[in-house]
């Protein structure tokens, strides 16, 4: 072959290869341009999606604690087990194993089998949520393919049922459903954070300089005014009464008269907040707040003090009690015992309905109604707990002579236990009506106090100091020492109180079978530290407040005073004693 032709052909071939290579390079450059420049955003997002992960960081829900620092409610994380049914190798075997370890009942086992076989749930199906630690440990140890774990919150109640009605319930998602949990949801919830980080091909997080973390802000810890020991004493006493008298319900409240701080609040029947589904809804009612009832004779000292305060009666006056039956404007009032003339104190000590009716008539309807309103009856106290009832007070428009004689003996008026105990607290502290306080302070997760709640006066001087301390308190002490409240006596401690036995309405008439037995007291009478109300709804076997409720109050006072300042002053050395007390009120 001609060398020149050979040379030319080679050059042509080289040129073709060169052109081909250049073309290839151009094509590559174009593709590179397309990936790096034109579609940069799209691929960048895809890459970021694979490597950068964002994880929400849920905040700790705040704790609820008693005033003495005991945790009443706290959130902890627990394991929940899920399955990816599509990845399960030996479904039946796994099912059997899970069922055994998790101690599933037959119905639960069948439900789980259905969930695992459901093609719509091929990627995710709950096996069991919030399992016990040892169950999770056992299952985790086996590393079953297709079985995974997720952390979920669970509200724990280390002191069990204690103050369950006050603390309330939090739902599956950690949101408050009742009680303090609901009332202070915003304070407890906290603020969610997030973490944006780089992850490897297996999804494991790598902390780098690009990692961005906004830490969650835990909820505030709430310190209640509830004292765990006083609450325990109150609940134990109430449980004792519940066992002894088999009532349909019972409730008790303990407050500090000088501040309005609620130290204990209990309601029966109760429930265990750890297993709320077990108890009927009715058991979750905090009767101290939600139920209003006719207070019966426990209202007499309040009305008597109102009359004294208005200046319509004098403490040295006497009232003719008509020997047990008094017909007034077509209605006959009765006393349990026939009395002739009774002095003002004896009307209360003997709990005379007729005497109180006559005192009530001295108050004009307007004055009577206004005085009740000043004491907070017919209005919510503003305790900031959900479900509080207003109670029921006859409006001035409907007020009648009947009302003026009924209300003084605790009929034709509906009060909540909280309203009544606060009115007694006003008598105990010298006349100031406080707003009941349930929250003491808010503390952040580092222990710094964010806010401290201070006692709040609702109405200053609803009673004068003379009326409350010099006239009414000695009368109430005599009720306990020589009247219907003898079973509340505590040796060495002067208790002031009043019994109440109210008939419940049955078909529009007062029942002779269904009663509410109650007792309200404060002690020590000379410098009251505690004010206690106990009410027992439809007790069986007895129905007088002096028989049913007074011993409960005595037990609460006796145990609780040991935890107040009385202990320091050496007053707690007294012994409880109870004598007599079968008098009717």
């Amino acid at each position: 072959m001609n060398p020149a032709a050979e040379e030319r052909r080679r050059n042509i071939r080289a040129a073709l290869v060169g052109v081909g290579l250049i073309g290839l390079l151009l094509a590559l450059s174009a593709r590179l341009y397309s990936i790096q420049v034109r579609d940069n955003g799209k691929y960048r997002a895809m890459a970021l999606g694979q490597h950068r992960k964002i994880r929400d960081l849920p905040p700790y829900r705040g704790d609820i604690l008693s005033s003495d620092g005991k945790i009443l409610s706290r959130s902890v994380t627990v394991d929940s087990i899920y399955a990816e049914p599509g990845r399960l190798v030996e479904r039946d075997l796994t099912l059997g194993f899970l069922s055994e370890v998790l101690d599933l009942r037959r119905a639960e086992h069948r439900a789980l089998a259905r969930r695992l076989a459901d093609p719509r749930r091929a990627k995710f199906a709950w096996v069991k949520r919030r399992v016990k630690e040892r169950e999770a440990r056992k299952i985790r140890a086996l590393r079953i393919k297709g079985i995974g774990f997720r952390k979920e919150w669970r509200r724990m109640y280390p002191l069990g049922k204690l103050a369950g009605h006050v603390v309330g319930l939090a739902g599956v998602d950690g949101n408050g459903l009742s009680g303090i949990e609901l009332a202070f949801e915003d304070e407890l919830r906290g603020v969610e954070g997030f973490r944006e980080y780089e992850a490897d091909s297996r999804g494991r997080g790598i902390t780098t300089e690009d990692t961005l973390e906004i830490a969650p802000c835990p909820g505030l810890n709430l310190y209640l005014t509830i004292h765990s020991q006083i609450q325990r004493a109150t609940e134990a006493a109430l449980d004792g009464a519940f066992k002894r008298w088999k009532p349909v319900g019972a409730w008790a409240i303990v407050v500090e008269p000088g501040t309005g701080r609620v130290l204990a609040m209990a309601s029966r029947p109760g429930f265990d907040p750890a297993t709320p589904g077990v108890a009927p809804t009715d058991h979750m009612r905090n009767r101290v707040l939600t139920d209003y009832y006719e207070p019966g004779s426990t209202l007499k000292p309040i009305v008597a003090a109102m009359a004294l305060q208005a200046g319509v009666v004098r403490p040295e006056e006497a009232f003719y009690c008509e020997n047990g039956a008094w017909r007034y404007r077509g209605r006959t009032l009765h006393d349990h015992h026939p009395y002739g003339r009774l002095s003002f104190p004896m009307v209360i000590i003997k709990s005379s309905n007729i005497g109180m009716g006559k005192i009530g008539l001295r108050l004009s309807p307007r004055l009577f109604s206004e005085s009740l309103a000043r004491l907070g009856f017919g209005r919510r106290t503003g305790i900031r707990l959900p479900g509080e009832a207003r109670g029921k007070v006859t409006s001035l428009r409907r007020w009648s002579y009947y009302t003026s004689t009924s209300v003084p003996m605790g009929q034709e008026i509906g009060v909540t236990a909280l309203q009544l105990v606060m009115a007694y607290a006003a008598l105990a502290n010298g006349g100031d009506l406080f707003q009941p306080q349930i929250l003491e302070r808010l503390v952040d997760h580092r222990g710094r106090e964010i806010y401290r709640f201070t006692p709040r006066l609702r109405t200053r001087a609803v009673f004068s100091r003379r009326v409350a301390r010099e006239i009414m308190t000695p009368i109430l002490v005599r009720v306990v020492e020589e009247g219907t409240g003898k079973k509340a006596r505590i040796e060495g401690i002067r208790v002031a109180g009043k019994t109440g036995t109210s008939q419940k309405l049955e078909g529009g008439r007062y029942s002779h079978r269904r009663h509410i037995a109650s007792f309200v007291a404060f002690a020590p009478a000379e410098a009251p530290e505690l004010c206690v109300l106990v009410a027992v709804d439809e007790p069986k076997g007895a129905h007088y407040g002096g028989t049913v409720a007074a011993p409960v109050v005595r037990e609460i006072l006796f145990k609780s005073l040991a935890f107040t300042k009385a202990k320091e002053k050496g007053r707690a050395g007294g012994t409880a004693s109870a004598t007599g007390g079968e008098d009717e009120e």
């Binding site: 700790y60 945790i71 706290r74 002191l159 902390t207 780098t208 409880a576 004693s577 109870a578």
Partner: protein, 94 residues
């Protein structure tokens, strides 16, 4: 430039490259370590919270009484005294 110069430049580039890769590997390894430590810290915090709950539950008088009863232990005199005293006084006075 001589071939040796090119080789030196190449070696330097390789060394720099390896150093960069080593540094990156170290960053990733430390990143894993930090992540693990953070996770461990969270776990320990959680354990502490759970233990506090556990301690309170165990300290709860009801739990102690239940447990004592299970073992057949009687309520100590100093705990039972106030209640017993109040009951005996009531009985005597009748």
């Amino acid at each position: 430039m001589k071939l040796s110069h090119y080789l030196i430049l190449l070696a330097a580039a390789i060394i720099f490259g390896l150093a960069a890769v080593y540094q990156r590997v170290e960053v990733v390894r430390t990143g894993y370590g930090i992540t693990d430590l953070l996770r461990e810290r969270a776990r320990l915090r959680e354990t502490k919270r759970k233990l506090e709950v556990y301690r309170l539950r165990e300290e709860n008088p009801e739990t102690l009484l239940r447990r004592a009863k299970r073992f057949g232990i009687e309520l100590p005199e100093n705990l039972a005294a106030p209640l017993a005293r109040s009951r005996s006084v009531r009985r005597d006075s009748r």
